[in-house]
């Protein structure tokens, strides 16, 4: 888990991802997309860059040497809580499986970011309206390797945002106007050939934040409805299969593809 290639949220352990109907068990542990996405991330840094052991108290120092621009050297108290174990109650999952660790200040910043990433749209609530920050708090406070690694990146990213805000506007990020906030976000929300080198690392961390926010939002009942998930309801009789509309769409695509 130390290699930077394992950093992305979309990696191995997170697996079930979009493939909820995925075939055999083992499939969930690796997929072609994952590797490719990871390689893209890996390309930013030297091929030999390897993070120091990711325990709660390690730092990003080794990576920092490879980063253009500023990057905070934060110290984190190790997470010492236990996981939920190998035989948790599945009918009544633990409501707070481990102590939450984000400070009020960090939660405020996470909330502002969450709603920039996932704002209210008409009657569809925003990320904070469905408690996305609480999910993120639970995520980064979890005692598992991947989540601890995410914690390090995410909290460094939050500090980076405040540092950047101070440099540009002499205030912390949450205190900026929405317009000021977006001038920073516009610089770090895209990672491509045009991204200035000083933003390429934070852009990866922003992408992680993006994935966490979208995951938490679309998993909520309101979010699931917004993305169009219509399952998890009991059907009496045979499975009805695709709707006529879905079949028409498919037939059109088959024609276009010459199939």
């Amino acid at each position: 888990m130390n290699n930077l290639t394992d950093f992305k949220l979309s990696n191995a352990q997170l697996a079930n991802i979009n493939f909820a109907n995925a075939s055999s068990k083992a499939f969930q542990y690796k997929n072609a997309m994952t590797r490719r996405q990871s390689l893209k991330w890996f390309g930013i840094l030297s091929a030999t860059a390897v993070l120091p052991t990711i325990s709660g108290c390690s730092t990003l120092k080794d990576v920092q040497a490879l980063i253009v621009g500023h990057w905070p050297d934060i110290k984190l108290a190790p997470i010492t809580a236990k996981g939920y174990g190998k035989d948790p109650n599945l009918i009544l999952p633990p409501e707070s499986p481990w102590p939450l660790t984000l400070t009020t200040e960090q939660l405020s910043l996470v909330s502002v970011l969450s709603d920039i990433i996932c704002p209210r749209e008409g009657s569809v609530p925003s990320a904070t309206e469905v408690d996305v920050p609480a999910v993120i708090d639970e995520w980064v406070s979890a005692p598992y390797d991947m989540q601890q690694e995410h914690r390090l990146y995410l909290l460094s990213g939050l500090t980076w945002l405040d540092d950047e805000s101070q440099q540009r506007f002499k205030e912390k990020f949450v205190q900026l106007s929405n317009k000021q906030q977006l001038t920073i976000i516009d610089d770090i929300a895209y990672d491509n050939e045009d991204t200035p080198s000083e933003f390429r690392f934070i852009a990866q961390v922003f992408a992680l934040m993006n994935q966490l926010v979208l995951s938490a939002f679309f998993s909520s009942p309101e979010g699931a409805k917004d993305i169009g998930y219509m399952g998890n309801v009991a059907i009496a009789g045979d499975y009805p299969g695709p709707t006529e509309e879905a079949m028409e769409h498919l037939n059109q695509k088959l024609k276009e593809l010459g199939l």
Binding site: L9, Q13, L14, A15, N16, I17, N18, F19, N21, A22, S23, S24, K25, F27, Q28, A32, M33, Y84, K86, L90, P94, I116, I117, C118, E121, V135, E138, W139, A142, A189, Y190, A207, N210, Q211, L214, S215, F218, S219, S220, A224, G228, Y229, M230, G231, N232, A234, I235, A236, D238, Y239, G241, P242, A246, M247, H249, L250, K253, L254, L257, L259
Partner: protein, 560 residues
Amino acid sequence: MKDFDYEVIVVGSGAGGAMAAYTLTKLGHKVLMLEAGRDYDPKTETPMFKRKAEAPLLAAGTVDKDFGFYDATVDGGWSVPNEPYTTGDGSEFKWWRARMLGGRTNHWGRYSLRFSVHDFKGKTRDGLGADWPFEYQDIAPWYDETEALVGICGTNTGLDDMPDSPEGVLQPPPKPRVPELLVAAAAKKLGIPTAPMHRAVLTRPLDDRAACFYATPCGHGCSIGAAFQTTTSLIPMARKTGNLKIITDAMVRSVDVDETGKVNAVTYVDKKTGEDILLSAKLVILAASACESARLLLNSKNPHHPNGLANSSGQIGRNIMDSTGMDIGAHIPALENRPRYNEDGHTSNHLFIPWWGHKQQAKGELDFPRGYHFELGTGFGEPGAGVGGDLQGYGKELKAQARKFYGAKVSLALRGEMLPNKHCYMEIDDKVTDKWGIPVAKFHWKWSEHELKQIDHGLKTGRAILEKMGATFTEPLPSAESKILKGGQIIHEVGSTRMGESPKDSVTNQYGQTWDCNNLFVMDAGVFASNPHKNCTLTIMTLAMRNSTWLSSQLIKGEI
């Protein structure tokens, strides 16, 4: 057991053990079953309809619950607390275990494909591995009975890799879904068939089990009994006969013998007290899983069996085979923004790609000897961790992208047949014991060129299918070495106590009876002589039914 005069001890309550217990109790034999894990009741413990958001970490996998929070695996997964295993230098092997009544049948994929004529006689055909000591025709009637009892949905296809079942045995399969139909159309262009997957999921009620209502992933377990697991079917049915008694939390330490070398007892650790308990035994059936049964036999050394019980052939722990595994996936633009509907279905493959290359292999047109199939990963799954994918930007545009890409990924999971080789085996680690002081298994693993060439073929074919669907690949084709999954990772480990024609090169005869002790049987996947690509559970159950029936006839005749 003063109050229960049992004739047979069965070790294990999964596919093999439960079927053996069911068959024997139905035939009037009293059976005592030992299970290393805790009691487990799917009726009260299955998280039906629970949403990912209700679980910690959106139900994503962790080292505590490798396949996600809701997976029906108790006290196990890739690691079992206080019960380690080890691997040899340079070997990687993953061993999935469960410690619960019903074992791994509580969470398995329910894929239930018959082995075919080809599968039982691979060595006759290509000179590799080992033949099974019987013909497909010998086992076909037992497949019929097992399928009818278990409840399998699917259809007869007439394809050479999918033997037909008699009329009326299979239950109707669910309708295919949009991405599956797209895969089918693309595959057809390449001359590759697709077919309804056969699954141990009821689409019609059977006994007191309900038909599937098309919600809740089968891997969570199934409180209504639609998705087959022994804890909602064979075990309660066997209990109803009054001939079955079960002891849970009973980890068997050794199978013991009398002064003539014949099995006469079993010693288990009562995990609740830590005490060793000796049970006298007239007849023992091991069905603890292929590698646990082999471990137990190797650990049951005595002066009559210095290399391990029933190991005069030296084959125990050898010949271990898993399925090969490889996954290839892509974003399919044609599936973007498609009309929504409920795509849960029976929560797994409605269609799959069966092996289509027997004729090519017979003509020598392929450079690998054994076949594979593709399982399809598609659909509007329940959103969870990672649902957004690898997206850029923020705000409304970002959300619009997530909606556009939702349900537009397709992955093909290759599951193939491997051949046994001398580098893939287990032994007892002489330096490490588990919490109970029982020496642990040590695994050795190395894929051969047969598997790597098969994976390479699968990579090329998978890409071709995805490209026909409109996917684009920018990277060069990855190497088979980088894409093949680890040994054990598909959780189809078999062959560690293989059956055969001769005591020289096999551990049991065709009935799972060990050559060395006529009152000791193995009825898990350890007895497999080869590991066809079709998932082992249906055949484990079919063999257990056939072999228990034969065993009963031997008991009645007084031959054992």
